[in-house]
Assembly symmetry: D2
Homo-oligomer: 499 residues x 4
Amino acid sequence: MPLKTSDEFVQSLADLDLQIYLFGDKVEDWVNHPVIRPSINCIAMTYELARQPEYEDLMLATSHLTGEKVNRFTHIHQSTEDLVKKVKMQRLLGQKTGSCFQRCVGMDAINALYSVTYECDEARGTGYHARFKDYVKFLQENDLVADGAMTDPKGDRSLPPHQQADPDMYVHVVERRDDGIVVRGAKAHQTGACNSHEIIVMPTIAMREGDDDFAVSFSCPADAPGVFYIYGRQSCDTRKLEGNELDVGNAQFGGQEALMVFDDVFVPWERVYLCGEVEFAGALVERFAGFHRQSYGGCKSGVGDVLIGAAAVAAEMNGVQKASHIKDKLIEMTHLNETLYSCGVACSAEGSRMPAGNYQIDMLLANVCKQNVTRFPYEIARLAEDIAGGLMVTMPSAQDLADEKIGPIVEKFLAGQCDTPTIDRLRVLRLVENLTLGTAAVGYRTESMHGAGSPQAQRIMIARQSNMDHKKELAKALAGVGKPWDKTAVKKPTATTAG
Amino acid sequence: MPLKTSDEFVQSLADLDLQIYLFGDKVEDWVNHPVIRPSINCIAMTYELARQPEYEDLMLATSHLTGEKVNRFTHIHQSTEDLVKKVKMQRLLGQKTGSCFQRCVGMDAINALYSVTYECDEARGTGYHARFKDYVKFLQENDLVADGAMTDPKGDRSLPPHQQADPDMYVHVVERRDDGIVVRGAKAHQTGACNSHEIIVMPTIAMREGDDDFAVSFSCPADAPGVFYIYGRQSCDTRKLEGNELDVGNAQFGGQEALMVFDDVFVPWERVYLCGEVEFAGALVERFAGFHRQSYGGCKSGVGDVLIGAAAVAAEMNGVQKASHIKDKLIEMTHLNETLYSCGVACSAEGSRMPAGNYQIDMLLANVCKQNVTRFPYEIARLAEDIAGGLMVTMPSAQDLADEKIGPIVEKFLAGQCDTPTIDRLRVLRLVENLTLGTAAVGYRTESMHGAGSPQAQRIMIARQSNMDHKKELAKALAGVGKPWDKTAVKKPTATTAG
Amino acid sequence: MPLKTSDEFVQSLADLDLQIYLFGDKVEDWVNHPVIRPSINCIAMTYELARQPEYEDLMLATSHLTGEKVNRFTHIHQSTEDLVKKVKMQRLLGQKTGSCFQRCVGMDAINALYSVTYECDEARGTGYHARFKDYVKFLQENDLVADGAMTDPKGDRSLPPHQQADPDMYVHVVERRDDGIVVRGAKAHQTGACNSHEIIVMPTIAMREGDDDFAVSFSCPADAPGVFYIYGRQSCDTRKLEGNELDVGNAQFGGQEALMVFDDVFVPWERVYLCGEVEFAGALVERFAGFHRQSYGGCKSGVGDVLIGAAAVAAEMNGVQKASHIKDKLIEMTHLNETLYSCGVACSAEGSRMPAGNYQIDMLLANVCKQNVTRFPYEIARLAEDIAGGLMVTMPSAQDLADEKIGPIVEKFLAGQCDTPTIDRLRVLRLVENLTLGTAAVGYRTESMHGAGSPQAQRIMIARQSNMDHKKELAKALAGVGKPWDKTAVKKPTATTAG
Amino acid sequence: MPLKTSDEFVQSLADLDLQIYLFGDKVEDWVNHPVIRPSINCIAMTYELARQPEYEDLMLATSHLTGEKVNRFTHIHQSTEDLVKKVKMQRLLGQKTGSCFQRCVGMDAINALYSVTYECDEARGTGYHARFKDYVKFLQENDLVADGAMTDPKGDRSLPPHQQADPDMYVHVVERRDDGIVVRGAKAHQTGACNSHEIIVMPTIAMREGDDDFAVSFSCPADAPGVFYIYGRQSCDTRKLEGNELDVGNAQFGGQEALMVFDDVFVPWERVYLCGEVEFAGALVERFAGFHRQSYGGCKSGVGDVLIGAAAVAAEMNGVQKASHIKDKLIEMTHLNETLYSCGVACSAEGSRMPAGNYQIDMLLANVCKQNVTRFPYEIARLAEDIAGGLMVTMPSAQDLADEKIGPIVEKFLAGQCDTPTIDRLRVLRLVENLTLGTAAVGYRTESMHGAGSPQAQRIMIARQSNMDHKKELAKALAGVGKPWDKTAVKKPTATTAG
């Protein structure tokens, strides 16, 4: 079975020569950098759980390519059951990390490319699908992490890629050689870019004639020559430099985003999956987005579980857990969170088989799922802040608590109502802060808003998928639109005499 | 195949001797009474569609008792696939009737009783399950409609049944005979009471020692001696007396509620499914409610489709269909409606096998589903009223439109912006009125609120099912609650000199 | 003091020869018609309260034209205090009638025309203002009710009035004579049309060159030759024909809407207030709408008080008044209702003096007020339905309750948990039904949505009034946009060693 | 005129010897500490604007004690006009600082104490009011900043102060001397504690017999011996240490919270305003909270203006300002923000005169105001994040942008769609981040939630002030509860024959 331990995973990452810039410097021992490490721990958890028998059913799947058990993150979904299990696995990981765990983009990318390469070959006689299957096998057999990279900087949004003043605003082919292509450009907002072995690049919008050089999809090692990363800044990121587990809130896990730059990177043909077939760019975007909008029904409800739990613990430590309004707020948070999960499950259970043989989610319901994700985590966070109380944002620093003179005073005055040590009360409040205002809020709030497409993108898809004509026909039939009207049958309302 | 045509169904109803009171009178030809008939047409539609090949997959199921194809409304769910199909069938019928179609209560009752009678037999050595299976077979083989009757008047809610001043506030056994029992009491808010062949009675709350006479479940023919019905009044009900399809909005279909009275009704033992086993009353209530909360994810989203379609048609006839705010409101309505459907699907797909062999929905998600149903139809209705415009509630009556002198004036001034005849514009607006303020609003709004339990009932179940302890453990683990704290590792934040 | 008693008012109405069509017939004794009378009672209440000393401060004002005390409904606002008192008077009347009381449109019309005629005279040398002041004096001295009529049928909304296929889609001048003008057309959705002495007509949209015949404002007696009314149908309207106070919910009061037709009506010049000055049509619409959007902050919060009270009484009669979720829902309803009232007060308190000397509300806040009115009454209604319980829509008719045989059974089973007679419990539930689904729902819900302009109209005004440029400047100043950036000051985050 | 310049204010602060602890160290040059200084700048702005003629009407008031013009922050409100101007002043300062500007607590404290000391004297013959007037005069004449300190740590919330295991959980008198009292305890969450000249202490809850030592109100200099401060940690606080205006978002202004400790502080009798009169503690809390709940209708709408403006600028720089959904979101943000302002204005305009002669806000509407503040800023923030786009949380640090090698790459790829320099685009996004996730989010979100009392505190007040009995009477009157019912008048609905 090709499964790495989490230690082997970390070592395999360390063996890469990633070019990462953070706070203006190139990071040397990036695997152990305190700002970056929590995001590596998240992915390590996807390895860790895969080796625990109790999670085997969710974390592993049987590859249709090799017949072997593989980590589900490298699996091509073979049934609606697979789709549902994907969501459950994501919820589990959200629960274990309290964070975006970043390995989903690659999974969603391979599943989208799987069907699109097949259909492109069917239509254009290209040979991408076989190539791509080899690549998936390579990922599975080596138990690798792939980053799925989609969002280009886009430049002037009113112009197509090939009319941009600066063509680098979209990743594009700058040279076609016998052995491969050379690409240039950048991908922005790359979740999980600096903890992957491989990068899978896809176009970011539907394309048309003239955009040929931009309709390109390929994969390459994360440390391919010419690839480098500029690490994104998160709220409260430097607390991780303070050696201070307390104020970080969630000391072990965290997300990560980066600007990924392709400075004339060479890609051999066997790693190219689209190159000029402009009419397939749109399908690829839509399918990747569809899978990723499903994903959020899983991962965000998992993180939601942590936040609900943290609010419940905070309420207990504040001694207010029995107040009816507190109980009701926890119910509301649970209700909203399970609604997200329901949408994730529903678009999976309603999935369907593609011509390539793999399974795809229901596109309408996946967009509905994500649209809810752009709303409910914000309300859950608001309720968590309500329950946690103001101390969450007014309490002194860990440095104060650690101080010999000031520490005992802080401890005395911030003791909660129960027997809990003050430090534990503060830990839980810092976890709530982390999820609502701090580093994890980037994943739980802003990523919920914009990840897998901003809210308006889902609304456009919902409109397109809503089959409004059918609904109009239903209404017309019941209203009797177009039927002859028998005026002579109309009677005048009146009432008989009393009794 | 034991399937009636819709005409045969209506005839079979007409053969019953139901005792129905409406507006203070006993109704004679009740099957053809204009106030009642639309509710019969709804159920007739469940027969009609069952015979159309295109809907066979949803409308029919293979009985696990007889191996025959039966109407799904009489089926015991054998898989999660069955559960999902139930929801889809309900959405279909909501679309076709634009109304509560009333046959679900019986389906949900037999599925709840199926597992509860089994477990009661296991625990108490009673013989209810075999009996009940015979009864289900009887329903299936004769393709009958059963009403599931649960809600008692309840009297003083702070007292258990056996301590009520008037014991009739809960249906109860007044006599135990060799051949059967005699029951007395009433069931309120009975949806679909006056268009069923059979009545299935269940207790309405969890019970305890002393409530033995009240812990009773049985079935009887709808026209059993001693059973009578007092028909509930709906908003705009008497418009149906005006021979006036226009102002009714939905001339063909409608819902129905009645107060069902049991005035010393005899029930033979073979139709008794619980009698004194107080500890099973609670499970029966919970499971029936669970199934019924799932149901609303189907039927209400079907009715929602009609309302969305009606709003879209109204917008076109008003000439405003291209306004961005109109399009956006239709998207929002669709989004909310599909969220309801997603919850219906999710609690079905996550269903599980009971000891009796049948399948039950996921209890947490079914309650989440219904909780959303207590909210979103109201917002969908509000948006429909927004799109429809004020004319919906200010336009003259059909009698004015039919009048020789006034009619042409109404027609002239109420013409919409397009080529649509005025009458069709008014028809669509009356359909919106019907669903938001009229007879169908009782089903689409108030029943969404209170049917299958009022909102607070779901919140209690959500709290109970939320596994909050697990969530608290997740949060504590990530926050590091209880871990020793290494104060010495704490560093002070600072910044190096520029550059 | 020129104040009529309510009886004198009713008699003065009866003296008019209104041409009203209802259910296809011309209504003869319209003042006593059971469908129409409740709306007359509402206006009668504006006379009744004006003579009660305790309400004098709100109901009366000192005319700036005559120095006499007049009914505030005929007053031109002279201060922000007047504007606030207007809102309070409206809340009082909403409380007393539980209904739209319909006299506001005339008050808002005279206040809008007062400043517009002044400004038109200033700009164009016309003589409207003096004329109009005479008219206001006439209304005040005779204590009359005026209807303010604005909304034309509009026909094809993409075309201006003078390009309509049928010019009658907008009220317009068909003949200019020495002694006056002849007008033709119709006004739709006319609240309070059939219980006014006078009609004040205004254009419904901003106009431009070519629309001269349509830019017309005038007044005429409600029974001027050529004026007739087609009465609008409301949800549950015919219950009022059943001699049945119970099922009506609110037996005494109700709203009213009509299609008002002008079939070549002659208007003498002294009653013409705009005629061809197209550039003033827009201001007139905006100011009337502004005053009317303010009005809703008063009247709807008054009706909201009734609905909140009804829900509270229903909860008591159901025996659930102490449940924490019930209490919390009543708080939420109160909170939303008082937010509406706050907005009504705020746009009044922030009003300002016009060149004509009268006071006008703050336009931005009045639109904000109305926008909230398109939302909160729906949520208040939803919560009321939640608290009331399903019985509200499933209970038998008054005819059943009055029946000798069935009545006692209904009474027995529908008794609440307390000592309240069943009839009183049902009365309160019918009042909730009346406000949420019945005749009063037309006023409380649909009129809240569309009266004084549909929601999108307010959004356009909010955008126009929001002074977004100022907000952008604030943000740019704080963000430092355009400032030179001193890169050399940037330091790298780090942390000193522990402790 | 006793008005300091902003420089004089800063100097006067620097002259104090405040004992402030931050990150475990006592801060020496605290007035110039980069973490603290922005909060001092906020208060400096209250001095700055007070000397600008264009703001004189809002910023200054005429003291009723001295007849001199004083800064409104030191004024006792003499009319509802004063109350409204207070709200406008707060909105202005929110706009200018984009932050909590912290001087309101003192203003609200003196206005609450003014009437309570008067009433206490009346009831108990104490001499607090004259003393307190002297103190107000002292503040006015020296143009001082006072902090209003209310919230105690509270310990076990189920016990009254005098039964706490540790009496220090509430500030209390430990010694009564001839010349004054000695107090001990702490106040938590103190907004603006470390930029005030004076501290005004009030009790935090209603008290009863036995709590005599805890029912204490007094003032003292901010640097009185025994007073010290532990500075609260805010999200992203240490970015201010990076010499890096860009990543801070709002480089100049910010809020501040601290734990304020009273370690046996001596207070002379002339600065004591309550000492043992337990029955006045509740009124003091309620009035202070009332004034402070009003305040939020002003300040938060001012900060909201900044956030709306920032979102609008970000949209322009992203090139999406013309998209209809963007425009609609800006309208929604404006609508919500103006609703908050309306509530602030309304509770002011509806204020009333107290026996002491000063004016107090309407208590119901002030609580409604604050309740909305616990909701709408969160939704405004959510919409701002939607409009801003994901770049707000994924963009590289200022250190990267400042780097010679990486900087130009960041600049190239993060250029917006317009001619705006990249740096300005990033500045605006960092401002949005600051307000939604960063230091200012503590004020705009969490303080909106918990400042002036958590949401449930307002709900309790709304319930108490709602006059529900009056509402119930209104409903009963309209429903006809208790009226005799004339069954004989009931008619049966029917319909005449057609036509």
